[in-house]
Symmetry: C2
Subunit: 334 residues, 2 copies
């Protein structure tokens, strides 16, 4: 994709990351990172057609910016926090969005609006692709990427290729079972990692001791306002030496470490990229995480993956653009 297009301009793709709160759009040439990022509210409670019409307008703006910069847009990638039917370009299950989104043929509908090929992908797999091609996973053949935010997402690169599997389930790290007797998850199973290691879970774990008058450092950090409690505040309290905050991150590290050890024994990888808002905790999380992976590893921890922080800005939208690029190149080879 480094050659110029028939128009004489350089080839590029557009990436769209549709989140529960905001959607983000950027374009990506063969060189460099995401450009001309647009970020607007999604309003997923609205009809899918209304939201798509707005996204199509934003794609047109992005395309104009890319053409202005001497590029031609070949395709659009769309990342979405859903279980997807990739072949059919269809949403199978998209929690927290209105009923009109469920079972919707997103790719065909958006193609009709923007008159470009559209390739959909799960948002965590898009993030994984961005870290693998542009970020902390560059040059790594076998990689797990996890993203710790409101929920926990993941993706797997094996022998250099993003793994989907026959049901497009591969890399669903957040829904690996931690406790089979735990609470029922939105996915249908019980005790998923997501319920113990997401940003929401971290804040929830700190709420009770805070309301009981404990965790003085955390209380001061949030100005005694429980509404300002989030995973980042708990991380800052842990870094400042609050023992209960450290314990919360140690438990999160235990849960994630066990999941990573599962991935080591099942798929085998050499690197784990940790991203999302919770990763801002840095060593407060990564240091106990490395220890937890070692403790649950085979052959006395002889084989350890590197565990590093994610690097790519706007990884969701950039990854969706990369997905469109890889699908376009696959099509031109076929």
């Amino acid at each position: 994709m480094t050659q110029s297009t028939p128009s004489g301009r350089l080839p590029a793709t557009i990436g769209v990351d549709i989140g529960g709160t905001r959607y983000k759009i950027c374009w990506l040439g063969a060189e460099g990172g995401p450009r001309d990022v647009i970020s607007r509210p999604t309003g997923g409670h609205r009809q899918v057609g209304t939201v798509l019409a707005e996204i199509a307008e934003a794609i047109a703006e992005t395309r104009a910016a890319a053409i202005h910069a001497g590029h031609d847009i070949l395709a659009v990638g769309v990342g979405i926090p859903a279980v997807l039917d990739l072949q059919g370009g269809r949403i199978v299950l998209l929690p927290n969005f209105s009923g009109s989104w469920q079972n919707f043929r997103l790719a065909a509908a958006l193609e009709a609006l923007v008159r470009l090929p559209v390739h959909i992908i799960n948002d965590a797999r898009a993030y994984t692709l961005a870290e693998s091609r542009l970020g902390a996973g560059r040059g790594v053949a076998d990689l797990l990427a996890i993203t710790l935010g409101t929920g926990v997402g993941g993706g797997l690169v094996l022998s250099g290729a993003l793994r989907f599997g026959p049901n497009h389930m591969a890399g669903e790290f957040g829904h690996i079972t931690y406790d089979p007797h735990g609470a029922r998850c939105g996915c249908g199973a019980r005790g998923c990692i997501e319920a113990y290691a997401s940003g929401s879970a971290i804040a929830a774990a700190a709420l009770r001791p805070l309301l009981q008058g404990r965790m003085p450092i955390l209380r001061e950090l949030i100005g005694n306002e429980p509404a300002r409690l989030d995973a980042d505040a708990v991380a800052r309290a842990a870094a400042a030496g609050e023992p209960e905050a450290e314990e919360i991150y140690a438990q999160v590290a235990h849960v994630l470490g066990l999941g990573i050890a599962h991935v080591m024994k099942i798929a085998d990888i050499s690197c784990v990229v940790v991203g999302g808002g919770v990763a801002a905790a840095g060593e407060v999380l990564l240091s106990p995480l490395r220890e937890a992976v070692r403790a649950n590893s085979i052959v006395f921890g002889a084989f350890q993956p590197r565990i590093v922080r994610a690097e790519v800005e706007q990884a969701g939208a950039a990854g969706a653009a990369l997905w469109a690029r890889e699908e376009t190149m696959k099509g031109s080879r076929a």
Copy 2:
């Protein structure tokens, strides 16, 4: 490998399966299953050189039988219950064998004795290859094979290829953690699946109630002789309606089902092949196992792998022969 060799004979490979108790040898042509199977005691407590000299003699016998049947042996595959360094042809860790086996360069030593290329492979991965190419996994692109015997082994086929991973750890199903607070396993981690779902674990679970005078059906089946207690006897008691025997298999199914659900979420597969002595239990095991996989699956069990019994006789030796064939073909393409 269907064309004839320069000598005008048909190409074939030899497979060796070195177990803790016995080693098995066979040869495999392009058509049909394993032929002229030899089975002799290993004596793994002896020096590796002594055992290898015996195996080299058995390989010579097998080669003579293959030549007699109009075939030429191109290479030898050796399956072994060890952590291996495939590139170096070296044993990294081989539990229950004498010190002389540890760190031994098995491939080079056997090549010198038999004057044929030798390719080593973990025994459970060899079994997986046999089921994938000749058995219950024929035509399945994404497959988990597990073998339930004295221990629990496994292997993964992804997109048609046996998966090894950067540390040759992929498919180590028996060492997925079931209970992180469980007993320390020989592998260094705690509470591995193997400790709960192997044939030895099943027999051990029945021993206490038996000694306490419970499980009358089981007691009668083994003629009141605890020395005759094994997983098969517990399975027959469960099939005959012994409630505690059924409970033991339900617990084994729970442990295995959770592990299979992990594999679904991490690597995604469409079929699970269950082999080894414990698989003889049939529906006593497979029926609760299907239910356990469903209960721990994502999206309310919408995506379920088929769970079937293994089919290949002498799958360990046959798989080692297949491994030698695939490595030989890879070499001839390179």
